[in-house]
Amino acid sequence: MDYEELRAFKEIEQKKIMTYQDWNTFHNQLMSRTVNIAVEKYQEEQGTLPASFAFFVMGSAARCEQSVITDQDHGIIYDGEVEKEPFLLLGKEIAVGLEYIGYPMCDGKVMASEPLWTNSIDGWHRQVKEWLEESSWESLRHFSTFFDSRVLVGNADFLSQIKQVAFLYLKRNPSTYMRLVDNVGFIRKSIGIFGQLLPERSGRRTGSIHLKTAAFFPYVNAIRLLALLNNCDQHSTTSRIAELKGTYPFLEEYEELFKQLLQFRFNHTKNNTDYDDVHYLSVHTLTKSEKQELKEYMKKGAQLFEIVKKEIKKECSIWE
């Protein structure tokens, strides 16, 4: 199968999908096949790669929380101190392939074709440590992006090893937890004091809510922070909650809400064809009860973030 056949397969199959879980399984299949095609193509043209590697995805793809259309976020970990160039070339091939299949390139250049996101195992160890030591706004953003990751093709141990380095550093430097909390502390306000939704007020998106920042981020960020605090190596928000709820029973309530939110987004955006549109939900298209539902997701998300913030503060104060 080549890229063209894969794209044709996608066009036909995607219409049959009815749940967000199936969409994510479908995305997974498509991306894995694309990577395998890219590796074959690379090896045909450039020869064998100099070392074994793991190709990993980040962001919503890693968390299995992708919307109908999603952009690319990925990187490569290779074994041994060999030249980086062949893996960057492979990364480029994969990015071009994914774009052809229907995954837009990442505006922020979080892609294996970029030197920052392709490294040897030791290189990644150093990189993650550097990000955490620097603790600047940008370096911690990079770290958070990296931490939401999952190996799609290759040896999953490579990535697990690197995450262990992060857990170890954070345990020795607990003040960094609070820096990570501050790093994602801004929650876009989307409910007014009268309980009304606050959609965009000008431009092409007038009347729409940015679902990703207003509804999803508080859940995703809060649970990632708890995962970091508890050395939880799970990659999705729901699997993280499943592992953590023994320690934090209050998470039970949010687990169900988050799953409902994923399905809610899928139901309302499944017919979108433009990547820029997929994160926006027009308030006018919602019924009264759907508006209430959306408000509940957003309120509870903000509430969860506050609870997690207090938990982390409390635990950090014990260690200090």
Partner: protein, 422 residues
């Protein structure tokens, strides 16, 4: 004698303060529009007040205060009187103070022209508005015209200055149509944000101070130091307007939008302009606060109606001008109306609906006149001058370069290198 001279001195100080408000309007308009039009906006304000001054001297003052009929004055053209009597203001001082109000009304009207009108349209409309629009309304209310006979209350010009200017601005915005890029095909509007909120904030402060002359010197004297009371009411209304607008926009959108807050302060000032000499301080707070609330609603209304008002002149001076004028019909006290021999008390002071009715009549008549005459003038100009709007290319380049050949911010355009210059 000394008191009379002091009265004259006070009013001429007020004149200077009101003239400085033009500086406020320059900053307000420049800050509220885009960089590429900043030099144009500032420069045209200076030369149009030059035109307005000469027209007011030639015919404007005569149409307002000359001997005539209930509709218009018909004497005192090309005014110049060096006389001084031992009572009241000297004619020249009075003339200068009155001229400032005409210039403010003209500047408000040009808010509706912003970022898309030809320079020649400013020149011609400055002449015609200063001769045929503003003086007529001013005569009706301040010059002994038919609304003055009804006891219409407008202490310093909510109707005469602000509403009249805003109605001309409305006519202009309708004829000129929205700026390129303001509205999308699906009807949604884009925010063409002004380039400098600091200018806009300083503008509001400058206008606020100038308003002490605008309202305070409208007492025309110092006796009883009543001007202090008028200025107190002015201050309270402006403060309440700013707070109310900021609270409302924050409550409705989740953001304490700066331009809306600034417009709230201006709305408080516009609203209290008619009533500052008639109402109690608590009412001034309420009048200003309501002004601040309705200015935001009005901004949203015009935006949705696809009427592009870059400086918010229609909302700040028009909608709030109407509210300010009507407010005396509710809040004018007996002592400050009947006691001053100017109209009747308002509805909340046992005055019944009579004064309220007069105020509404005044607003409707003045607003309709100013709008229709301005609309006709601008339509005729549009036909005769081959359009009053610049071409699409000129608008995109910006009026600094297309109309004046130089840029308000020259550092932002490419300069020849030293070698090329040699």
């Amino acid at each position: 004698m000394e008191m009379v001279l002091m009265d004259n001195l006070w009013v001429i100080i007020g004149t200077f303060l009101v003239l400085l408000m033009i500086g406020g309007f320059i900053l307000l308009e420049a800050g509220s529009t885009r960089m590429k039009n900043a030099g144009h906006i500032a420069g045209k304000t200076i030369f149009t007040i030059g035109i307005g001054s000469l027209v007011f001297w030639a015919v404007g003052y005569g149409f307002i205060y000359g001997e005539g009929n209930a509709f218009i004055g018909l004497s005192n053209f090309f005014y110049g009187d060096a006389s001084f009597s031992e009572e009241g203001l000297s004619p020249a001082v009075d003339f200068m103070f009155q001229m400032m109000f005409a210039l403010i009304a003209l500047t408000i009207a040009f808010g509706g022209f912003a970022e898309r009108a030809k320079l020649s349209a400013y020149v011609v409309f400055a002449v015609l508005f200063s001769a045929f629009v503003y003086p007529v309304v001013a005569h009706w209310i301040w010059g002994g015209g038919w609304l003055a006979d009804h006891g219409k209350q407008d202490f310093a010009g909510s109707t005469v200055v602000h509403l009249t200017g805003a109605m001309a601005a409305l006519a202009a915005t309708i004829i000129l149509k929205p700026r390129i890029g303001k509205y999308n095909k699906d009807g949604s509007s884009n925010e063409l944000a002004g380039h400098n909120q600091v200018y806009t904030a300083l503008a509001v402060l400058l206008l606020w101070v100038g308003w002490f002359g605008f309202n305070g010197a409208s007492t025309f004297g110092l006796s009883d130091a009543f001007f202090g009371y008028v200025i107190l009411n002015t201050q309270l209304a402006a403060a309440a307007g700013a707070i109310a607008a900021m609270f409302l926009v924050w409550a409705l959108t989740g953001k304490a939008d700066v331009p809306t807050t600034l417009n709230g302060a201006l709305a408080g000032l516009v609203a209290i302009t008619a009533s500052c000499g008639f109402v109690e301080p608590w009412a001034a707070v309420l009048i200003g606060a309501i002004g601040g609330l309705i200015v935001y609603g009005s901004m949203r209304f015009f935006d949705r109606a696809r009427i592009d008002d870059p400086i918010f002149a229609l909302s700040v001076h028009g909608t709030v001008g109407v509210w300010g004028t009507i407010s005396t019909g509710f809040f004018a006290t007996e002592a400050l109306s009947v006691g001053m021999d100017w109209g009747l008390p308002g509805l909340f002071y046992n005055g019944g609906f009579e004064q309220l009715g007069v105020q509404i009549l005044g607003v409707v008549a003045s607003g309709v006149y100013a709008f229709i005459v301005s609309f006709i003038i601008l339509k005729v100009m549009d036909k005769v001058m081959g359009g009053i709007r610049v071409t699409e290319e000129e608008e995109i380049i910006g009026l600094d370069l297309s109309e004046h050949g130089s840029y308000g911010y020259p550092e932002n355009i490419p300069h020849p290198t030293e070698r090329e210059a040699k």
